[in-house]
Subunit: 186 residues, 2 copies
């Protein structure tokens, strides 16, 4: 994406005070279900429709009071996803990558995390999300990502990727799906 | 949209047996909330992420056993939205328009309905949706439509409309928002 540059974590942590840090998480769970009884779903991968009409991952700006990137991330997950997010927490081991966006201002460096849940944890998240603080405000709804491609060659993941994404979210999604071995088998 | 043609209900009902009929509903509720404490939300308007990675309205194909267009629609709403949809039902008075799509096959005529709920009914729908029969399968999640435009002139409804929509869903959305008086004030 124009203006978004991948950088290392140490490079990101050395950026001056004019940069704001944000953290977002891809949460996923193995899903044994089959669409129409035949197409394997493989994983339930969570994204959200944001207040700005674009798809992104739960998370947000880290405040100085948060103490660490992960503390800020876990706070944001509770605000955006509700009580279901209290069942787990993300740590430095879940970190994957950082992307810097210098323009338009503000200068933001976005850190990306990936964490596996159980399908029950995922369902509890989805069921509790309408009671989250940010529901209907900064978060317009949670959606799962279709990982398959339908017979027409477009429906499923290819059509999903044609939607509008915030910041580096599309790249982060692709990177995580590559890690899960989903892209190779398309 | 290419291949989609608006037709009258009587014209639609006269189409031969080679046409399949589908019904979809835009459900909305007045919402007094304000985003970031200042931007009025006005209405919570419901759409869903479909299995094919595109945004659409709840609903689906009417079966010959359904007896009427609206009976088919109410059955589909229960399957896709779950128990919360039992709190209301749509009737002929909620009908708005029909769109015919001849190519690619199958030939489908899609009937569109609009119904106002209370915000509590909307929240109950959202909270119950993860327990619906089609959740995680044909329905990947419910989302509300942002009706405002953010300061950058793109975030909000304009960015939302850049997403991928199925069939006539984008036109149906615009038509309903016009009816609610939302578009004039953008
Ligand atoms: C009075 C008021 C008015 C406001 N008006 C506006 C407005 O008009 N427009 C507006 O956009 N905000 C507006 N805000 C929003 C506010 O500044 C925050 O952007 C908003 O609260 C979201 O915060 P968040 O921490 O949840 O961030 P997120 O949006 O999740 O993330 C923080 C930053 O990271 C970026 N980002 C998100 N996901 C990714 C990703 N996957 N990869 C890379 N970067 C990513 C975002 O663009 C943002 O810059 C307003 C706030 C207030 C209080």
């Amino acid at each position: 994406m124009a203006g978004v540059r991948r950088i290392s974590l140490s490079e990101a942590l050395d950026l001056g005070p004019s940069w704001r840090h944000a953290c977002h998480a891809l949460l996923y769970a193995p899903d044994p279900g089959r669409l129409f009884g035949c197409i394997p779903l493989r994983y339930a991968v969570l994204m959200q429709m944001r207040f700005d009409g674009r798809l992104g991952f739960p998370g947000g700006f880290v405040d100085p009071q948060d103490g660490s990137l992960e503390a800020g991330l876990n706070r944001e997950l509770l605000e955006e996803l509700g009580e279901g997010a209290a069942a787990f927490s993300l740590g430095p081991g879940d970190y994957r990558s950082s992307h810097a966006t210098a323009s338009p201002p503000p200068r933001v460096v976005a850190h990306f995390y990936v964490k596996q849940l159980t399908l029950d944890q995922m369902l509890a998240l989805e069921a509790g999300a309408p009671r989250a603080k940010d529901h209907g405000l900064e978060v317009l709804g949670l959606v799962r990502v279709p990982l398959y491609t339908l017979r027409d060659g477009v429906g499923g993941l290819p059509a999903f990727l044609e939607n509008s994404f915030i910041g580096a979210a599309r790249e982060q999604l692709m990177e995580a799906l590559q890690g899960l071995g989903v892209l190779e088998e398309q």
